[in-house]
């Protein structure tokens, strides 16, 4: 059985390089989260997404703004 789904913040990226920049930036800022395979609801392609708690939204937006990390999209969804 799969885990019970929880509402999370999911950030997708155009490239793997952007996803790696995100992980590094969040780690440096002490913001929790982790890289996961992109859920199929968002894309059927290869790729990684940043998965975090929804309450980190503003903090994450700030980090991305500061580090100029371009997102593809930002979702709140159950994963």
């Amino acid at each position: 059985m799969l885990r019970k789904k929880e509402k999370k913040l999911i950030v997708t990226f155009h490239t793997t390089a952007d996803a790696m920049a995100m992980e590094k930036a969040c780690k440096e800022a002490g913001t929790k989260g982790r890289l996961i395979p992109v859920p199929r609801a968002l894309s059927a392609g290869c790729g990684l997404a940043w998965c975090a708690e929804t309450e980190e939204k503003e903090q994450i937006a700030r980090i991305m703004e500061e580090k100029k990390i371009e997102k593809e999209a930002l979702h709140e969804m159950f994963v």
């Binding site: 799969l2 885990r3 199929r40 392609g45």
Partner: protein, 378 residues
């Protein structure tokens, strides 16, 4: 961590490989640039690897082997370097994007492309292949083994068809080199594209292609070659013709050590272990409710790959769960093989791929069986 993503890259390498790379980092100059000890040392190491690969693939001689960074580079060279406007080329839905995307580019430049479909088990029909040949057909391009289903194509049989119709046979051996014996002359292969970091157990950034003597391939790159400096054009002699610029000598030193390991251990021994793992895994889960496995497991020859889905679960979620709760590394999603996913009807769901190494143990396979069965419980 239990690593079962060996079709992506073999993460566990023989220790000789890292030792060879470390040694090379301190003794290698630039191959073919001068005759000082460092340059010669690099030339010798690279030539040694070239000779080993020639022998490994049954090539006429070492000069038939050119080094590249990976299969993708090799395939781009092979396809863009042989196909021209007006040519017809035949390929299959089993192919990876490293074959399909260069072919689509060729198609935009006026190459006619036929893509053979497959049956429910993911196999192509050789009859359909032969029936697709017409007077403009220049080449057949196909994989030796699907990276998604693990199904293999009988290259020797395709080679006979290619020979009968005087066509070039270009083969993508990414999933089979180092696992199945490949004899390019016996199989009738004109260009063999391979990568160093999968079954050959070398480092990433190594790979190459075999080009049959007499087959002309236009290079993708031109530049420094260490020879023929005052020629305005890049030399057309193999292997220099396809090796502009400094080679990844340090990586090739590692690949050479990996080839020595394969020779010493025996790829037959390695393959038997990997296929045993695959069978053990397949047979333990194939009748479990909710588990859908793709590919042809009745075939005598196949790659040590099992791709599956559990119920209608997102393959990304399953793979993530295998990773987080069971410590098992697999690959989910689309596997850069879009047409194979379409043929299997897994475009939306993707698939979770387990691919085995001879370094895996029976216990690890048992753990994977248990994990998959746990996830399939309702």
């Amino acid at each position: 961590m239990i690593y079962m993503d060996n079709a992506a890259t073999t993460m566990q390498k023989p220790k000789e490989v890292s030792e060879a790379i470390c040694r090379a980092l301190s003794v290698m100059g630039n191959a073919g640039r001068g005759a000082a000890e460092g340059a010669l040392s690099a030339s010798r190491i690279i030539y040694g690897a070239r000779e080993k690969l020639a022998e490994f693939f049954g090539a006429e001689n070492a000069s038939c082997i050119a080094f590249t960074a990976n299969s993708t580079e090799s395939l781009n060279i092979a396809l863009k370097g042989t196909l021209q406007t007006g040519d017809h080329v035949i390929t299959t839905v089993l192919e990876h994007n490293s074959v399909l995307r260069p072919l689509y580019e060729c198609q935009e430049k006026g190459v006619e492309l036929t893509i053979l479909g497959c049956d429910k088990k993911g196999n192509i029909s050789l009859q359909e292949l032969e029936d697709s040949i017409h007077k403009e057909t220049k080449a057949i391009v196909c994989t030796h083994g699907s990276n998604l289903t693990g199904n293999m194509i009988d290259i020797e049989a395709v080679g006979r068809i290619a020979k009968r119709h005087k066509l070039l046979l270009i083969v993508d051996a990414s999933q089979t080199a180092g696992i199945y014996p490949i004899d390019v002359q016996k199989m009738g292969v004109d260009i063999l594209c391979f990568t160093g970091h999968k079954g050959l157990l070398g480092p990433q950034g190594t790979g190459g292609l075999y080009v049959r003597e007499g087959v002309k391939v236009r290079p993708l790159l031109s530049g420094g070659s260490g020879i023929d400096t005052y020629n305005m054009h890049h030399p057309d002699k193999m292997p220099t013709a396809l090796e502009a610029g400094t080679l990844n000598g340090h990586g090739i030193a590692g690949l050479s050590a990996a080839l020595a390991y394969l020779e010493q251990t025996g790829i037959d021994v390695i393959r038997e272990i990997e296929l045993k793992h695959m069978r053990q895994f397949y047979e333990s889960i194939s009748r479990t409710p909710g588990i859908q496995i793709y590919g042809d497991f009745s075939a005598k020859q196949r790659c040590p790959i099992v791709s599956l889905n559990i119920w209608d679960y997102d393959s990304s979620e399953v793979s993530d769960e295998l990773n987080m709760s069971f410590g098992i590394a697999t690959r989910p999603g689309a596997h850069c093989a879009p047409l194979m996913h379409e043929a299997l009807g897994t475009k939306e769901q993707g698939a979770v791929r387990f691919s085995f190494s001879h370094f895996n143990t029976e216990e690890e396979v048992e753990t994977a069986v248990w994990a998959v069965k746990e996830l399939a419980k309702r």
